[in-house]
């Protein structure tokens, strides 16, 4: 690995000052499970690593019925899926957090980091998009809020500019009669990067959909928010046919490439299959059924 300097600030202000000073030559690090690997293979070469785990706001994990969930960017996955409020209110988030890597990775990796790494396959990202999450970004001049579906621009590129820091994610409190689910397809049962990932949330009204959100991973240069798939469900009866239509729209929106993890045709096909399965699971959860994370 090239030489790095290391800093461990204790406030957001300290952190953004350091990041602004070094610009592109600095990078924030939470769990390090992506960044350290990238530094080792030379894919990212910061001269300064800014360890943000010592900043209180980035470790926050609080839930209120008014404001919903505030999840600090550095909170590791194991804290997320062991948190009672998250388990109760956001099983769709637990789905993602409990399958990123394995137990050891989950001891360090954070959902904030998963988002900032901006891999097209990032498991947390469709889950966040489906839940309508927003990102709070701090800079030397203040903070701004960005919808998670607008956060990633291209593989490994986000709207976070040099000198800025993702502080936290906020997810609204779940409304009544809603449910969410994230599933992915991988060749093994754990440890793999998603060949396709699908995050959905639904709001039901008796036997019809009131609204829905569908988001895809690994089928485009960035995770996709497929608005038309969710819109196509709004007002429709909960049926195989309407779910199938949404699944087809999701598959149509996907623009996958063929690479070592799968061919484009296979990925398109999986989009439809997983969207259908995810919607069915979200519906089941809405109706009070138990769907295990893994």
């Amino acid at each position: 690995m090239k030489w790095i300097d290391y800093a461990s600030p204790h406030t957001v202000k300290e952190a953004v000052t350091l990041l602004a000073e070094k610009g592109d030559a600095a990078r924030a690090m939470a769990g390090g499970t992506d960044l350290i690997v990238e530094m080792r293979v030379g894919r990212r070469t910061p001269a300064l690593v800014v360890d943000i785990k010592g900043i209180p706001e980035l470790n926050e994990i609080t839930y209120t019925t008014e404001d919903g969930l505030t999840l600090g960017a550095a909170v590791p996955c194991y804290k997320i899926y062991n948190n009672k409020a998250v388990i109760k209110n956001y099983p769709g988030l637990v789905d993602a957090a409990s399958i990123i890597g394995g137990t050891q990775i989950q001891g360090r990796a954070s959902i904030g980091g998963n988002l900032c790494n901006a891999a097209p396959s990032g498991d947390a990202i469709p889950a966040l998009i489906a839940l309508g999450a927003k990102a709070k970004i701090a800079g030397v001049n203040g903070t701004r809020i960005v919808n998670v579906e607008d956060f990633c621009l291209a593989p490994r590129q986000t709207v976070v500019k040099p000198g800025e820091l993702l502080v936290s994610l906020s997810i609204p409190a779940p409304k009544a009669n809603t449910g969410a689910r994230y599933i992915r397809f991988i060749p093994r049962n754990e440890m793999d990067i998603a060949v396709v990932g699908v995050g959905v949330s639904v709001e039901l009204n008796g036997s019809t959909f009131k609204s829905a959100r569908v988001s895809l991973a690994s089928v485009a240069p960035k995770p996709l928010f497929v608005k038309e798939a969710g819109d196509a469900l709004a007002g429709k009866p909960i049926s195989e046919a309407s779910i199938e239509k949404a699944a087809e729209l999701a598959a149509a929106a996907a623009k996958p490439i063929s690479d070592m993890r799968g061919t484009a045709e296979y990925r398109k096909h999986l989009c439809a299959v997983l969207t259908r399965r995810a919607l069915n699971a979200a519906i089941e959860r809405t109706r009070g059924g138990t769907v295990n994370a893994h």
Partner: protein, 789 residues
């Protein structure tokens, strides 16, 4: 899962006092506490850290190398390239370890001279104060390459017009030395027995299929390592994890232009090998760096280097045709096999050709096999090398014929099974073997009779064969005054063997195995011992220990005779007691006698050296239940049973472990492992993220049946057990998949995408064709496919 049957069964043929029990292994405490020293755990005083610069191109001329900037980099103490190697050129066959090698290839593989032949081919080496500085230095070495066209499969390498990789290579073909055409074909075998054409004409059912199998890697968790000190006395001292101390010693010595014993190799504990740790790789490089710096140098490969630049096992193309009568008798079988050798010769196609129909008694057989050079790392052995590829092909065709004839797949195999006296197409006649016993144990197993419930679930069976090796081993046993024995042997312990060896000595001496103190020692301290491979260690080194124990026994009897002043012939030693054959009162325990030795003539040291010929081949069979998700093509192993003829299980727990471990490697080979090569010849998936080996979550418990058909060629009846179990799993799983979703797989790995494509092609998934064409149409409008590295 609760079970009403015994998950691990030993069908014992004979019981002994020590052999067949399950003691805690002698090296166990060190290994569960982190105290055991593996090759990378050594930090001699002053050690420097070495790194190797590797070719980024699959095939390229090396026009120049400029190491000057690297040499000046702070913290760098030496740089070496091919010009530092003492042997120049020379197409010369030399004796190395237990075989022979071409010195030019051997050295060239360690460090490229004029051409890089695969991505990852070593070009230069540096030694520095730490690995990070060494890495920085590599980036400063300037190499001028002229990229050449490359060829990546055996089939392509054999086509006319393919780029020739070794211009001086000629095919070693059936004794024909007249041909002088440059070629990539480095091996050609042809076995013919009877008349296959006539046999096919008599068949009621004939099935022919073509198969392609991807390159896979042994995947040992411990990457290659070596620590070398070029001593002031001129000797080269090596410490590393290796399966073949004498192989590495001799190869290193030859490459450095030294006589073999000028190198001393001390094997440390080894973290897996499976056949992949027999080649020198970094050892000569570290030696030359040590010579230049006057300090020990340590080179440890990264996982990426290990995957890209050691010895994976050959990818292959195999065509199999088998014919049978409606009564279920196989009348003819033919096979065409093309195996990759990688950048240097040896593709293991010869062994594959032996394996392909080995479980069967067939009168009319033609087997033709080719090995071809291509621009990939030079292949190495992987647990029964050549056999898994071969029997994936033949065992799935066998299954297809059985199904077509509506004969139970095990019964079909029993109707045609090889027995004592059966001749294989490559010549040898079988001695007593356990093929039928394995098949019968499979048939009688609760797994085979268990009902299959659910959709998309299928059961498959397959069997496999492996030759096993004998080769040379040496052992000495020293009797300690307290009645324990020191046992010295030279077989690196890769899975509990030092205990299995000790158990055989303990059985012969009649003392507890806890009283044996085994040690695996350096090449200076033990007689030539062939490597830990070929399923030979428990068989051959165990036999050497048995012989050494017999020698101790003879000397103990002679000593007791001296003490009692009776003729030695009047005494015997049984169950650890020396006693008179005539006078039952005259006896002494081994322990007591041991205490008397120093005062009655001195210590007793026994020795044994063997090169046994009575090696017995092994057979294994799998029963596997799978569930296939027809919408994703993903295969889940629901239940797995492996049955194997082990001759005699010296330590049943470790024998079970071999069956389970080999089966799981076979499962990985079957389902997800492959080298995904870019068109430029780079391995795109050279991390353990994308080189997908099974995790604990991907598997059920693996049930085992140890069938003991004693090998008449061994004192305890041992057959090698380590390898054969990797042979049947891919075929068994393919056969199960065909029962689950009705498709016959012709590729390895049978990854989800491949199974999905097979389902689409077959039209069996009603929705599949529609989804497939929709997916294809949608992709076409998105733009062109791209392949990302």
């Amino acid at each position: 899962m609760t079970s009403t049957y015994e998950r691990n069964v030993v069908l014992s043929s004979k019981t002994f006092d020590v052999v067949g029990t399950r003691p805690v292994r002698h090296d166990g405490h060190e290994k569960v506490t982190g105290a055991a020293k593996y090759g990378a755990d050594l930090y001699p005083t002053g050690v420097l850290f070495g790194k190797v610069l590797r070719s980024p191109h699959a095939h390229a001329k090396i026009k120049s190398i400029d190491t000057s900037a690297a040499e000046k980099h702070p913290g760098v103490l030496a740089v070496v390239t091919a010009k530092d190697f003492p042997i120049k050129g020379g197409d010369q066959v030399i004796k190395v370890g237990e075989g022979t090698a071409n010195i030019k290839y051997l050295q060239d593989a360690v460090m490229a001279t004029d051409k890089a032949l695969f991505k990852g081919h070593p070009i230069a080496g540096v030694a520095a104060v730490n690995v990070h500085v060494a890495e920085e230095a590599l980036a400063l070495i300037k190499v001028d390459y002229e990229v050449l066209p490359s060829v990546l499969t055996a089939v392509d390498a054999m086509k006319p017009g393919a780029p020739i990789i070794h211009p001086q290579l000629r095919t070693d073909a059936l004794g024909d030395t007249k041909k002088d055409n440059p070629t990539n074909i480095d091996g050609h075998v042809l076995h013919k027995m009877g008349d296959a054409d006539a046999g096919f004409k008599r068949a009621d059912v004939v099935v022919e299929r073509e198969f392609n199998t991807a390159t896979v890697h042994q995947g040992y968790i411990e990457p290659h390592n070596t620590t070398v000190n070029w001593g002031r006395d001129g000797r080269v001292y090596v410490w590393q994890s290796t399966q073949g101390p004498f192989d590495i010693r001799d190869a290193t010595a030859k490459i450095l232009g030294l006589s073999d014993s000028m190198v001393k190799l001390t094997p440390l504990e080894i973290g897996g090998g499976f056949g992949g740790k027999f080649s020198p790789y970094g050892t000569p490089v570290a030696a030359l760096l040590s010579k230049k710096t006057g300090r020990p140098v340590k080179i440890i490969m990264t996982r990426q280097e290990d995957l890209e630049a050691t010895g994976p096992t050959p990818g292959s193309y195999i065509k199999v045709k088998i014919g049978a009568t409606k009564e279920g008798k196989i009348t003819a079988a033919t096979a065409y096999m093309a195996y990759e050798s990688g950048a240097y010769p040896e593709s293991f196609v010869g062994l594959g050709a032996m394996a392909i129909f080995a479980p069967y008694d067939i009168a009319n057989v033609t087997i033709e096999g080719f090995g071809a050079i291509c621009n990939k790392p030079s292949t190495a052995a992987y647990r029964a090398p050549g056999a898994t590829n071969a029997e994936f092909a033949s065992e799935t065709v066998i299954d297809e014929i059985a199904r077509k004839l509506k004969v139970d797949p095990i019964d079909f195999r029993l109707l045609n099974a090889a027995k004592e006296g059966t001749r294989r197409a490559d010549g040898p006649v079988y001695p007593k073997i356990g093929c039928v016993e394995v098949l019968e144990a499979m048939k009688n197993h609760p797994h085979y009779k268990a009902p299959l419930k659910g959709k998309n679930i299928g059961r498959g069976v397959a069997v496999g064969w492996w030759i096993n090796a004998g080769l040379q081993s040496a052992c000495t046993i020293t009797v300690n005054p307290d009645g324990t024995c020191g046992l010295v042997e030279g077989s690196p312990d890769i899975g509990g063997s030092r205990t299995a060896i000790s158990m055989q000595a303990a059985e012969a001496l009649g003392i507890p195995v806890e009283d044996i103190r085994p040690q695996v020692v350096s090449t200076d301290e033990v007689g030539f011992t062939a490597g830990t491979g070929g399923s030979r260690v428990t068989f051959a080194t165990g036999w050497a220990a048995y012989e050494a124990a017999q020698d101790v026994k003879r000397q103990m009897i002679t000593r007791a005779a001296t003490i009692w002043d009776v003729p030695a012939e009047s005494l015997k030693m049984e169950k650890g007691v020396v006693m008179s054959k005539m006078d039952s009162e005259l006896k002494m325990t081994f322990k007591h006698l041991a205490g008397e030795l120093n005062g009655t003539g001195g210590p007793i040291v026994g020795r044994g050296t063997v090169d046994p010929k009575g090696v017995g081949p092994a057979f294994a069979g799998d029963i596997v239940d799978v569930e296939v998700d027809p919408e994703t093509g993903k295969t889940t192993i629901k239940r797995f049973t492996v049955v194997q003829d082990v001759g005699k299980a010296i330590h049943p727990s470790y024998v079970e472990g071999q069956l389970q471990g080999g089966s799981v490697q076979g499962i990985g080979w079957a389902l997800n492992e492959e080298y995904f090569m870019t068109p430029e010849g780079r391995m795109a998936n050279s991390t353990l993220l994308d080189y997908r080996m099974p995790t604990a979550l991907d598997l059920p418990l693996i049930d085992t049946v140890l069938v003991e058909v004693a090998n008449p060629g061994h004192p305890f009846g041992v057959r090698g057990v380590g390898e054969v179990n990797i042979v049947p799993p891919p075929a068994a799983i393919a056969n199960a998949i065909s029962q689950a979703v009705g498709v016959r797989m012709e590729v390895l790995p049978m990854k989800p995408g491949a199974v999905m494509e097979a389902i689409w092609k077959s039209g069996k998934n009603g929705n599949g064709a529609k989804l497939a064409s929709a997916a294809k149409a949608a992709t076409a409008t998105n733009g062109k496919k791209t392949t990302k590295k």
